[in-house]
């Protein structure tokens, strides 16, 4: 089959150990365009396909600092410039009182950056994905099966050879995923 017509080959395993073994082997054999699909986070599977760290913490830090700064600046501007209230001659720039809302906004923006950043970096929302075409993907990958997908974009990909390669890991099944 042509590379344009299929998304990849999906091998399904019963246990996370088998999946991790296969993924590690495939990675060391030079496969790069591949992904593991597990019903719960399996750290070894993440490492096996060569994923190291991510940028969510950086986004969260930037979001938090930005939120705190924006709120603090807004409070300063409102209290000293836009709407100065003279209450018994107390100083207008009473910054310790402004720390509390600024703190809350630091948390708010950091939390929103973490959540929205995670979703966006994951390429979600993506309601359609070729993997959902695989007949057994929906039944297993979100419940109790552990799958490895070798994607057709990988320069090493050849539908016949890749199938033999995946079958050498003794999976339950190997299916072609239509695009």
């Amino acid at each position: 089959m042509m590379r344009e017509e299929i998304y990849g080959l999906l091998a399904e395993f019963d246990t996370p150990e088998e999946l991790v073994r296969a993924a590690r082997q495939a990675y060391s054999d030079g496969w790069r365009r591949m992904d593991c699909y597990t019903p719960y986070p399996v750290e070894e599977a993440i490492e096996a396909i060569g994923v190291r760290g991510n940028t969510v913490p950086l986004l969260t830090l930037v979001g938090g600092l930005l939120g705190g700064t924006v709120m603090f600046a807004l409070e300063e501007w409102i209290s000293t410039v836009a709407y100065p209230l003279n209450i018994a001659g107390r100083p207008l720039n009473s910054w310790p009182a402004f720390v509390v809302p600024a703190f809350e906004f630091t948390i708010l923006w950091a939390g929103l950056s973490a959540a929205i950043g995670m979703i966006a970096l994951n390429g979600l929302p993506a309601l359609y994905h070729p993997l959902f075409n695989a007949p057994n993907f929906r039944a297993g990958a979100s419940v109790d099966k552990f799958s490895l997908c070798l994607e057709a974009y990988d320069p090493k990909f050849d539908a016949v050879e890749a199938r033999t390669y995946l079958e050498s890991f003794k999976p339950i099944s190997v299916v072609e995923v239509e695009r």
Partner: protein, 465 residues
């Protein structure tokens, strides 16, 4: 020898987080069936009808309030803060246990939190929703509630950022948003499971939209785990700050009985105390009706009892310090405030509080036998909820009704509208919770899967191998 035997029995019966014999499939099946079954239990409809009736009462009470003004409540001078503030603080406090369980205990790697985390978070969100009603309807002109926010208005009026009441707006708003985000992110993979398992086309669309196309990719899990941990780390200082800020509403005022530095820690401990009680009130019937005893085990109930005991002891310390400082400060207004609180015309409320919050729970919770007795813990959780409501009543009312000048003393009497509004929010909370257990997965499936013995073994094997 005897100790060892006792330990063995204990570990077989009570030390389990998950009963043996569950597999990835059976756990998924068990939790998703509650949501996906086409047969809704009749009891659910009955409860929904009762709760719906209560929500109608709330709407009527609010409508009458909007037509006639806050004069229909018992608030007057000198007690200008009545049920509305009591209920607000009580509801927010209840919410805090949800964040404690899902965020703080996550950071402390308390694995027992997993099974109860999701519905505790749901409890948080619904409790905050109930709480947020009160300050808004107490505004007098609730249609101007948007004045609380720093929005460029045509009159160029801005909020006063030196006031704890303004801080409250930001603390509660942030708490509500972050709780919803944390809850939703936690449910994302479970929505994927529900989308894949449902037979109904409508449910597949609905859960599919909610899942955003989640497919459990290792790259996704990598960012997901980081984001969950970060959200937990952010929610932890947040939850501590929220009740601290709420206690500032009182502590920053100069009124004897309010003006006290013990308030922030004592409010936070009280919040966790009442929230844990509410989690128990919900968890004990839920595990029975939905047959979740192998996921929410006696060990969970036991541990929640221990958290309540610890929080209750801090609350007791708070009461003791209040009494001690009223004497040690040598300030006659402070000592009068305490004397009046305990022995004045409204002293009955103080003694209800002492009995329900301290005397009953702090004598019984030491016993493991009682902590694992479901009927006892259920009743106790109700007792503590009542006690914590009275704590807020005592703080608000008994400090206000007799302040510095005897000529300005008064009294406080709640009206039927006060009671109906409180009842209405209880109904609203029940209604939201009923919808939650029917429509959303109340136990985090993906987290439970990761905790199953096989999954755990495989990870350790892989890690060592």
């Amino acid at each position: 020898m005897a100790v060892e035997d006792k330990f063995a029995v204990h570990s077989a019966d009570q030390n389990q987080l998950i009963e043996p014999g569950l597999s990835l499939l059976s756990v998924t099946e068990k939790i998703s069936r509650i949501v996906l079954t086409p047969q809704t239990p009749l009891g659910w409809f009955a409860l929904l009808a009762v709760a719906g009736g209560g929500v109608v009462i709330l709407l009527v009470a609010m409508l009458w309030l909007f037509l006639r003004g806050v004069g229909i409540w018992g608030v007057s001078m000198p007690v200008a803060w009545g049920f509305a503030i009591i209920n607000f603080v009580w509801w927010i406090g209840i919410g805090h246990a949800g964040t404690l369980i899902s965020a703080i205990l996550l950071l402390f790697r308390q694995r027992w939190r997993t099974a109860i985390g999701r519905f505790a978070e749901a409890m948080t969100i619904f409790a905050v929703a109930c709480a947020a009603i009160f300050p808004v309807i107490h505004l007098g002109r609730p249609w101007l509630a948007y004045w609380l926010f720093p929005i460029p208005l045509t009159m160029t009026v801005w909020p006063q950022f030196r006031s704890p009441l303004t801080w409250d707006v930001f603390a509660v708003l942030t708490y509500a948003i972050i709780s919803v985000v944390f809850w939703y992110v936690g449910m994302l993979p479970d929505f994927g499971t529900l989308r894949d398992r449902t037979q109904s086309k409508f449910a597949r669309y609905a859960y599919g939209l909610a899942a955003l196309g989640w497919r459990g990719s290792a790259r996704h899990w990598n960012r997901y785990e980081t984001a969950s941990l970060l959200l937990a780390g952010l929610a932890t200082p947040l939850v501590l700050s929220v009740h601290t800020v709420i206690s500032f509403d009182f502590a920053v005022a100069l009124l004897p009985g309010w003006h006290s530095t013990i308030f922030p820690p004592y409010f936070v401990a009280g919040a966790i105390y009442s929230g844990m009680a509410m989690v128990l009130t919900l968890a004990i019937p839920l595990r029975k009706f939905f047959h979740l005893d192998d996921l929410v085990t006696l060990r969970h109930i036991d541990n929640m009892g221990k958290v309540m005991l610890a929080a209750g002891c801090i609350v007791a310390y708070g009461y003791a310090m209040e009494a001690f400082m009223s004497w040690y400060s040598a300030n006659h207004l402070e000592s009068f405030a305490f004397w009046n609180r305990a022995f004045g015309p409204m002293g009955w409320a103080y003694w209800i509080l002492i009995v329900t919050n301290l005397a009953i729970p702090l004598t019984t919770l030491w016993s493991r036998k009682l902590r694992t007795n479901l009927a006892f813990m259920f009743v106790l959780s109700l007792v503590v909820n009542v006690g914590m409501w009275f704590e807020r009543f005592v703080i608000v009312v008994t400090s206000l009704y007799r302040d510095f000048l005897p000529s300005s003393w008064g009294t406080y009497r709640a009206t039927r509208w006060d009671y109906l509004t409180l009842l209405g929010t209880l109904a609203l909370f029940t209604l939201l919770f009923l919808l939650f257990v029917r429509l959303l997965p109340m136990i985090p499936m993906h987290e439970i899967r990761a905790m199953l013995p096989r999954a755990k073994n495989s990870q350790t094997e892989e890690a060592s191998g």
